[in-house]
Symmetry: C2
Amino acid sequence: MTPDPSVPSTREPASLPARERILRAAERLFYLNGVRATGIDRIIAEAGVTKVTVYRHFPSKDDLIAVYLDRRHETWIAWFKEALAKARAAQPSAARNAHPFDPLLQAAREWFEQPGFRGCAFANAVAEVGATVPTVAGIAARHKTEVRDAIATLLPADETARDMAWAATLALDGAVANAQSGIGSAEASLKGLRDLLEALALRARARRGGRG
Amino acid sequence: MTPDPSVPSTREPASLPARERILRAAERLFYLNGVRATGIDRIIAEAGVTKVTVYRHFPSKDDLIAVYLDRRHETWIAWFKEALAKARAAQPSAARNAHPFDPLLQAAREWFEQPGFRGCAFANAVAEVGATVPTVAGIAARHKTEVRDAIATLLPADETARDMAWAATLALDGAVANAQSGIGSAEASLKGLRDLLEALALRARARRGGRG
DNA sequence: GCTTATGTAGACAGACCTGTCTACATAAAG
DNA sequence: CTTTATGTAGACAGGTCTGTCTACATAAGC
């Protein structure tokens, strides 16, 4: 079968504690190659530790995967919130009502264009190990909820915000999945995403106009 | 690590030719467990053939995967087109302009509720083996294009149809990915999808109204 | 000073993976 | 009749996988 994806090997700096080196190597390899395709041996090589050290910190590979996903969630969502906040702060206040999703679009562009972009770590993990590992499914669900909540902060806090933010989350997921497969990719995905988000915002304005 | 997903074992009927039995077993196992997680040994067991027979029909597992994806595409897209056509035929003609995406929504519901539903086979394959296997990425791209074209048949054939259909395709992808992770899942995904599609249709009507 | 945590090196078990091999059987096509 | 395609059974090579093992080293905390 096709051999392991050829992601360049690196080595975590020896100054960091072993546990941290393990987690950094795992984060990089699990994301770029997939959790199933990445063996413990590759992780110990790039973390610069021995197998005993890994298994003293993490009872099993499944546990390491769970910690990886937890950390990935923390760092990613922090980045995402900040990207949204920054883009929103730069937005003229008039545009915030007319184009509430512009910051999301900007964040998505930034994300898709990152060098090591390979889609959503959580969607990928679910695709790889399936819903058979409940930990993975659980973390993925929590992740998606928090993404929706972060998106909701772009919207006026009325009773429709949650549903709109949820729809926008699905739109983002679709764009991510498409950008990942890397065909016409980033630009086409962003165009589709913009269409969806603008339509969503337009409908919300129409409703508010029609009601109020 | 977590063992192979526990999908029930079956056996293809011996009346079929060996090649067909292999492909049917592969289709089922690759889709349900993933292409990477499924070993040739499991396939030969459930197809009721020997390893030599497999390797006489398919030079390598990668080739088998490619043929699997090709077949999966053919059968899925045929089902999809028919589901759209049937739902559209059942639609009152007045609704076809106001709610052009209703057939898509119906097809999505039907799909998500199928017993063995585990998301998009092509997105999953890309997530598993990455873009490192060009065959997989290529088939996935072709698949997505044809999905878009099928969706476009729901729309009046003007110059905006392609873009709208593309946006709808992304929305569908997002809903699929979410339904796959199986949390609040099918119903929530469909609700988000409906919101996106209705917004899209509304914007198109508004544009036509504003112009014509 | 003694215990506990953390680290090293590398062998090993037991499983599963893809892919090849020998040797034999059957049946259709030329 | 002979060649070619298709099938069977099962051993085998060579690799990778997770996880355990022994044996030793160092440093911090009580």
